[in-house]
């Protein structure tokens, strides 16, 4: 049977916990081989959605299909074609890396004659090699995370769900992790990933932004940025004092944030003269002031800055 071109499809998906609506009537499609980023503030409903898509908790409304199989009715089939890795690694800390791989190939289950090969491949792509006999608890976070990823791949899933896989991981390990994600996507695996790192979101083919359970927007990073509000980027001497004084006037000039050592402002109408005035009153020399394309973080903030927390 050929693999379906649409890997994940949900229509009006809803999940209530008592009176609380964690996921509120969301619909979207994910194509096969896509790297699909699922973004939103803490508590927006990301993990709940993933848990429904993995067949761990049932929806209270709406329908969905994963890998062509229907949520609810065909959960066992769904479980056999998906991989899942969460922010809390499911690894056994007191087993060695190798024993974990062996254990996961056993529970999924991987046919016996294929196991040895898959384990060797997993060791190779995760570059765990020399530390395969180390107790998992003693591995650095970056390695543990790559181990958790390859464990979730032992049964060659068609769709991979990654729930904040890189939280608290250093930049080099994050890069190596994303190298693995690209390779998977190129080989046709659909990757559904949540992250709070906006540079990682840039690597996704498409992004869905959710807030308070609702789907806010969906599109490629490029689309989202070009639809976003233009940003005023200020480069000036003495940026700390500049930022101090500007953010006290946010009500007049618009939301301010630091971007490295430059200041990004989502300008309100006629804010520019006021900004120049404020900077000179703080004794800061303006090096440059220009309109820039919003970064994904700017987009995220502009969509969500009202009505959160």
């Amino acid at each position: 049977m050929p693999l379906p071109e649409i890997s994940v499809e949900v229509s009006n998906l809803t999940r209530k916990f008592g009176d609380f609506i964690a996921v509120d009537d969301i619909s979207f499609k994910v194509k096969r081989g896509e790297v699909f980023g699922f973004l939103g503030p803490n508590g927006a409903g990301k993990s709940t959605t993933i848990r429904m898509l993995c067949g761990i908790i049932p929806p209270t409304g709406g329908t969905g299909r994963v890998g062509g199989y229907s949520l609810g009715e065909e959960n066992m089939k769904i479980k056999s074609i998906i991989g899942y890795m969460s922010q809390k690694f499911s690894l056994y800390d007191d087993l060695t890396a190798l024993e974990n791989l062996d254990f996961f190939s056993g529970i999924y289950p991987v046919p016996r004659n294929l196991r040895q090969n898959r384990i060797e491949e997993a060791l190779e792509i995760s570059r765990l090699g020399s530390r395969q006999d180390d107790i998992t608890a003693t591995l650095p976070v970056g390695l543990k995370q790559r181990l958790a990823l390859v464990c979730s791949l032992m049964h060659r899933p068609e769709v991979l769900f990654l729930d904040e896989p890189t939280a608290g991981v250093d930049p080099i390990s994050r890069r190596e992790f994303w190298e693995l994600i690209y390779r998977l996507s190129e080989s046709g695996v659909t990757v559904f990933v949540t992250t709070h790192y906006m540079d990682e979101a840039e690597h996704c083919d498409r992004i869905a932004l959710i807030n308070a359970g609702k789907l806010i927007t969906i599109g490629s990073p490029k689309q989202l940025k070009s639809n976003g509000q233009k940003i005023l980027e200020i480069d000036c001497s003495n940026w700390q004092s500049a930022f101090e004084i500007l953010r006290k006037s946010e009500g007049v000039i618009g939301e301010c944030s630091l971007f490295g050592t430059k200041i990004h402002i989502m300008p309100k109408p006629y804010a520019e003269t006021e900004i120049v005035k404020l900077l000179s009153s703080a004794g800061c020399d303006l090096i440059s002031k220009r309109e820039v394309m919003p970064s994904l973080e700017d987009v995220f903030v502009s969509f969500l800055s009202r009505g959160t927390e």
Binding site: Q87, P140, P171, I172, H196, M198, D199, L258, T261, F300
Partner: protein
């Protein structure tokens, strides 16, 4: 004027040397960033400074107190937020703050004033009576911060306080810190976010249990000895593959929606890049030489 002085600090776990002779001075009012790869010893170092773990040897002075000889001498002046902060999930926001306030024996009047100020800063006011377990991740972190500040410490030690926190809550978290920095608080923090390191007064790179470099972000970036090119094409993944073959795997990396190339000489490489991409029908959207950021510095120092 130094608030923290660390001399030749060592700590081992069995045969593994986590800290292998760390030397460091932090001045009053700094936002001092500790940067390093996973497993470099950052958490161990912060725990020892916070007085919750003992060192094997070396000297630490915090606010002129010898912390090795008198581990409790500076505790009243230190606030510490660990990666796993022990908020009580069944207590409300207000009850958690009150609890920490009583631990530090703060008078009822002082607690009232400080609590109101912290609730205002953290914008947790509307949630004072909500149980902590029902807060979002970002709110929990802001509450944890409030609890770490209730005894008005002079030095605040933060171990990856914004990990797993969304971009908006992360901004709010830093706005609170800026308010306290403006009031003269000294902050020592570890972070996996390079933009947070970029805004530190100074950054120490901890690697293999030692500080391999320590300077302002500006100076660290100035020390970067390569040319850096930023490239955007209509097919970044293919471009990366092609250019990695030419310039080496580690020298061509993704940076959000861009590629960064670490080069010996930009002028020479520029024509080579254009040629390779043209031959493979990849269109260049932009190609320019740029100044390095902290992430470039980090990757270069560690990789």
């Amino acid at each position: 004027m130094p608030i923290v002085e660390v001399i030749n600090l060592r700590k081992s776990f069995g045969d593994v040397a986590a800290l292998n002779g760390v030397n460091l001075t932090i001045n009053r009012g700094e936002a001092f960033c500790l940067l390093g790869p996973d497993g470099a010893g950052k958490t161990t170092f912060l725990r020892i400074l916070a007085g919750v773990m003992a060192a094997n040897s070396g000297e630490i002075r915090i606010l002129d107190q010898d912390i090795i000889k008198h581990p409790d001498a500076a505790k009243q002046s230190i606030g510490y937020l660990s990666q796993r902060f022990s908020l009580y999930p069944d207590l409300t926001v207000a009850e958690n703050i009150d609890f920490y306030s009583r631990l530090f024996k703060i008078s009822r009047q002082d607690n009232q004033i400080r609590k109101e100020r912290l609730l205002e800063f953290s914008r947790l006011g509307p949630y004072v009576n909500r149980r902590t377990k029902h807060l979002s991740g970002g709110m929990k972190q802001k509450l944890a911060l409030s609890c770490a500040l209730i005894h008005t410490p002079k030095l605040l030690i933060l171990d990856e306080p914004t990990t797993g926190v969304d971009p908006i809550s992360r901004r709010e978290f830093w706005k609170i810190l800026y308010d306290f920095l403006a009031d003269g608080l000294t902050i020592l923090f570890a972070t996996p976010y390079m933009d947070e390191a970029e805004r530190a007064s100074r950054v120490a790179l901890l690697y293999g249990g030692q500080i391999i470099n320590c300077d302002t972000p500006e100076n660290l970036k100035r020390q970067f000895k390569y040319h850096l090119a930023e490239l955007i094409t209509d097919d970044n993944r293919q471009s990366r593959q092609l250019l990695q073959d030419k310039f080496g795997r580690n020298n061509v990396v993704f940076f959000g929606d861009k590629l960064h190339l670490k080069l010996e000489d930009y002028q020479t490489a520029n024509s080579q890049i254009q040629q390779i991409l043209q031959e493979n029908r990849v269109n260049i959207v932009s190609l320019e030489q740029i100044a390095p950021g902290m992430e470039d510095v980090f990757v270069d120092a560690i990789a």
